[in-house]
């Protein structure tokens, strides 16, 4: 697991993380490879893993009935896919599909959640990292729905 631990700690999301904590996280982690078109998760399924993209691009999409999937965001290198694992009912709220060959670190969400309950300090350190990411995605989404490039009626 040593190689994986190095990979986990090298990911930008974990920059500056205490080695001790890094080891705990790495203990729940494994490497993934998704070919173009493969899904990381489907809407409604249990959100068992949180993915850190090392290489490639993932589309987050929703499938309206009778229509092609609507991609509302893509996540690339250095970014996270999935926050649903953080809050009940711990289920994917959308589909996540690899647009191209994608390598990602998958961290077992149940494993992490149990460790957070057992060690609140660990839990707090991780929340301090996840919350800004979630806030940033919220900001970006807000700008996106403002539809600033749309033509206003004169």
């Amino acid at each position: 697991m040593d190689g994986l631990e190095r990979i986990v700690l090298a990911h930008p999301f974990f920059a500056g993380l205490e080695e001790k904590i890094g080891q705990v996280v790495a203990g729940c982690a494994r490497n993934h490879r998704f070919n173009a078109g493969e899904y990381l998760g489907h809407e409604g399924e249990p959100a068992d893993e949180v993915f850190l993209i090392r290489h490639g691009k993932v589309a987050l999409e929703i499938l309206p009935p009778g229509q092609p999937a609507s991609v509302f965001s893509t996540q690339g290198v250095g970014e996270i896919v999935g926050a649903s694992w953080l809050v009940p009912p711990y289920r994917w709220r959308f589909d996540a599909r690899a647009l191209e060959l994608t390598r990602a670190i998958g961290i077992d969400a149940r494993c992490l959640r149990e460790k957070f309950e057992a060690d609140h300090n660990l839990g707090y350190e991780m929340m301090k990292r996840f919350l800004p990411v979630v806030m940033q995605q919220l900001d970006e989404t807000r700008l996106q729905i403002l539809d600033v490039y749309g033509k206003r009626e004169t």
């Binding site: 033509k151 206003r152 009626e153 004169t154």
Partner: protein
């Protein structure tokens, strides 16, 4: 007192003399003979406005103005002073930077259009009765319209060969605060001749001072008498007394920083609820310079013209872009006007835009007082600024 008519000949700038009412008439006549269009104060529509003058008889002899925020009325004086009022609704801006001006015309041709420049003939203006605040206002507009990276060529033409006869104020207006703005009541420079009206028992005369070679040349043609030391000190007393009776005051110390630091002050909300956004203030203000352009074509679409007209930052469309207006709320537009006038103008042009003439208060239908609004921000700033800025 000796009363010897002074000989005609070269006079140095700074010469003082005494003119009688007849001398004043001669002044108007001489200017007319030299091809000037002479404009000055006259009674019309219940106000003292600037218009063409044929002679002293057109002046508002024996009238004064009583001004307060939102109020203007004329009253008879106990004497026959010719300049015994403060300022009326119009300013010299009406002639130098007129409300409507054609910029150019254009004519469709077989493969495009041609542009014809405007008629460039302008009258030679002589302004009789320019107040100290108005002299400053003209200089302020000179800075804006002549000394930027681009010159307003029309304004430039209209300012050529102006003959300015300033008149020191003997009566302070109810909304005047030139003392606070350091623009009066005494005129200091920028005039060709300056008059101070001296009116006491048995004597109605004018101390005249030359401010330029052109002024001296004209004075040399007028019947006049020597000015005595008593005349000069009497003139100083007139101005000093006016300075003591200012209707308003404005503390300008650090005011720029205060206004620019407080764009979210609650006061804007309060004044925004009173302000009608009518734009009167910008029309009567002698320094407001904003204009808009309009393109008109004839019905056949063969000729078109571009005209320029006064505009006001209170106009809701003033800040229109991208299908919407930036300053939708009246409070935002009031904030823009007062901040520009008392603060941004200093960044842009080196002085405040306000000369303390009081017109904006007098002619505001709801009597909004620029000095009171500034005071409200100063007395209770949401964001304080260090003093001495």
């Amino acid at each position: 007192m000796a009363s010897v008519d002074l000989p005609v000949g070269d006079l140095p700038v700074g010469t003082k003399a005494i003119l009688s009412r007849q001398g004043l008439q001669a002044l108007i006549d001489v200017l007319g003979a030299r091809g000037y269009r002479v404009l000055g104060p006259t009674l019309r529509d219940g106000a003292i406005v600037y218009d063409d003058l044929a002679g002293v008889a057109d002046l508002p002899a024996g009238w004064t103005d009583v001004q307060q925020a939102g109020q203007y009325r004329l009253e008879r004086r106990a004497d026959e002073a010719l300049f015994g009022y403060a300022v009326g609704p119009s300013s010299w801006k009406r002639f130098l930077h007129p409300p409507l001006e054609r910029l150019w015309q254009t004519q469709r041709t077989s493969n495009g259009f041609t542009v014809t420049p405007p008629d460039t003939t302008v009258p030679k203006f002589a302004f009789l009765g320019v107040r100290a605040c108005e002299l400053h206002a003209i200089q302020i507009q000179d800075t804006v319209l002549k000394r930027g990276p681009y010159r307003d060529t029309g304004y430039d033409r209209r300012r050529q060969d102006n003959f300015l006869i300033a008149v020191n104020c003997g009566t302070a207006g109810g909304t005047c605060f030139c003392v606070s703005m350091k623009t009066g009541p005494a005129v200091d420079s920028g005039f060709d001749l300056a008059l101070t009206e001296l009116l006491d028992a048995g004597s109605h005369r004018f101390l005249v001072e030359t401010g330029s070679a052109a002024g001296a040349a004209v004075l040399a043609e007028l019947p006049r008498q020597a000015a005595t030391p008593d005349d000069c000190s009497a003139a100083q007393v007139v101005v000093a007394r006016t300075a003591q009776h200012m209707g308003r005051s404005l503390d300008t110390d650090g005011l720029k920083q205060l206004l620019q630091a407080n764009p979210d002050h609650k006061r804007w909300e309060a004044v925004g609820e009173r302000c009608l956004s009518c734009g009167n203030c910008t029309m009567v203000c002698p320094t407001c310079f904003c204009t808009a352009v309009a393109d008109h074509s004839d019905l056949a679409g063969e000729t078109a013209e571009r005209v320029r007209r006064w505009d006001s930052c209170f106009n809701p469309d003033f800040s229109y872009i991208h299908g919407g207006t930036v300053r939708t709320e009246t409070k935002s537009r009031y904030r823009q006007w007062i901040t520009h006038k008392l603060a941004s103008w200093i960044d842009q042009f080196g002085t405040a835009g306000c000369v303390g003439c009081g017109r904006c208060m007098t002619w505001c239908p709801v009597g909004i007082d620029i000095t009171e609004e500034a005071r409200a921000i100063r007395d209770n700033p949401a964001v304080a600024v260090p003093q001495g800025g």
